[in-house]
Symmetry: C2
Subunit: 259 residues, 2 copies
């Protein structure tokens, strides 16, 4: 066996797209692409030199891997409709346990890349942590081989831990990004260039490399500087949502400090 | 004039420490250091080869600059007690207007480095935005000269805009850092290595260089994926504070998306 696999990609969104690129680069062969959206299926298929379909029934019955990379809330439906397949079926989702496959396929597992993906953004996959799981030793070896062909950071992980890890991404990625967007909105309204924020944001996240975020906390809340917090809340007078968010987060930072 | 200044540093905290190092590196001379804490005053003074004091009255009356880099809530008191000084007095604070100096000194201004500092963390000052202001044209030139000797990113900024910029640092730095600490706490409790978060956090903030954070939002909230949000909230069952924070931030992300 050459270690190169034939792969059916079920999904054509952010994760599916970046996985597809990385898999092709590693020498595997994408033999078909499914997406509920004709446009997405067609676009990704075109880039892989294969066929795209919006019909699960027309997918090949046999391949080394069927990788299901669809939205979390579409996953169970796709699994139900996929029918019998001869090959290993994996999903790429943090929030869904491996047991979702139980009794439906013979060989299955999870291939969860712990990263934030957007189609439009290039992504170097080599350092992305891939968290893998399978229903058999043999299956685990096979998923590991696939994952290691695209990343040097492949880790065995059970479904329970994976769920918590997925949750933390909401805090460390989605919510942090939202907070930066709040900062940018305030700056925009006061005609201040958003580029001023960049050195601050970069330093904030450079520090995370150095040690736990808890030890890196700065700002008025951790200092208990109520006069500055009061000033900030006054400036947020016309942004009641963000005023509430500011109060609550400051309260939590002060509470956290006492833990 | 050589462009090298004599400087009295009033304060010995995070900002004062990093400013002092940068100023010495640029060839200026720190002639005295004040801190309310004897230990801090002594430590910083020792590093500058000068004298430290906890008594404002014993500071030199004459210097090119008196830089007040104390906690925001101690600033007004220090200004009141500083007495007459022959030289330019500046503070380094984002949240306090320049008018705090009015009628107290002849020549004054603001030298606000927009960055997060911790004594323990090394800091390359050359890219830090320095936002400057003064009560006179001549004063502005002098502050600019000082600022440009340590950073290539010096910008004239009025007190009003500076207040909003300072506010945004709470969102883009203090609160983002807190969110990462929440993620780390959850991981720790489930025996998952925090280093798994690093590629995700780095990618999140690399994207900020590419375009506005609003356009980079990913995750269940922006997708309207209520089933995943529900799962996350269930996992947070024993963390009611963070559960509340999760709900509120998800709500805001969805609201923001509609703007």
């Amino acid at each position: 066996m050459s270690g190169k696999y034939t792969i059916v990609m079920v999904g054509a969104g952010n994760v599916a797209t970046h996985l597809t690129y990385a898999l092709i680069k590693a020498g595997h062969r994408i033999v078909a692409v499914f997406s509920a959206s004709e446009k997405s299926a067609g676009m990704l298929a075109e880039k892989t030199g294969t066929s795209g379909t919006t019909n699960l029934d027309t997918l090949p019955v046999k391949a080394d891997f069927f990788i299901i990379a669809v939205r979390d809330n579409a996953l169970e439906q796709v699994i139900s409709n996929l029918g019998e397949r001869n090959g290993m079926v994996v999903h790429t989702t943090g929030s869904v346990g491996m047991e979702v496959f139980k009794g439906k396929f013979k060989s299955y597992g999870v291939l969860y890349p712990f990263q934030t993906f957007r189609k439009e953004q290039e992504m170097e996959m080599g350092q992305v942590p891939f968290l893998i799981e399978s229903n058999s030793e043999k299956g685990l070896l096979k998923v590991r081989k696939l994952a290691e062909s695209i990343s040097s950071n492949v880790i065995d992980f059970n479904s329970e831990q994976r769920r918590y890890l997925h949750l933390t991404a909401a805090f460390a990625c989605n919510f942090t990004n939202y907070l930066v967007s709040v900062a940018e909105s305030i700056l925009k309204e006061h005609h201040i260039d958003r580029s001023l924020l960049l050195p601050l944001v970069e330093e904030t996240f450079r520090k995370i490399r150095v040690g736990p975020a808890k030890d890196m906390q700065t700002g008025p809340a951790i200092r208990g500087d109520t006069s500055t917090m009061k000033k900030h809340l006054d400036l947020l007078e016309n942004y009641t949502d963000w005023q509430k968010l500011y109060s609550y987060m400051s309260e939590l930072i002060q509470k956290n400090d006492k833990l």
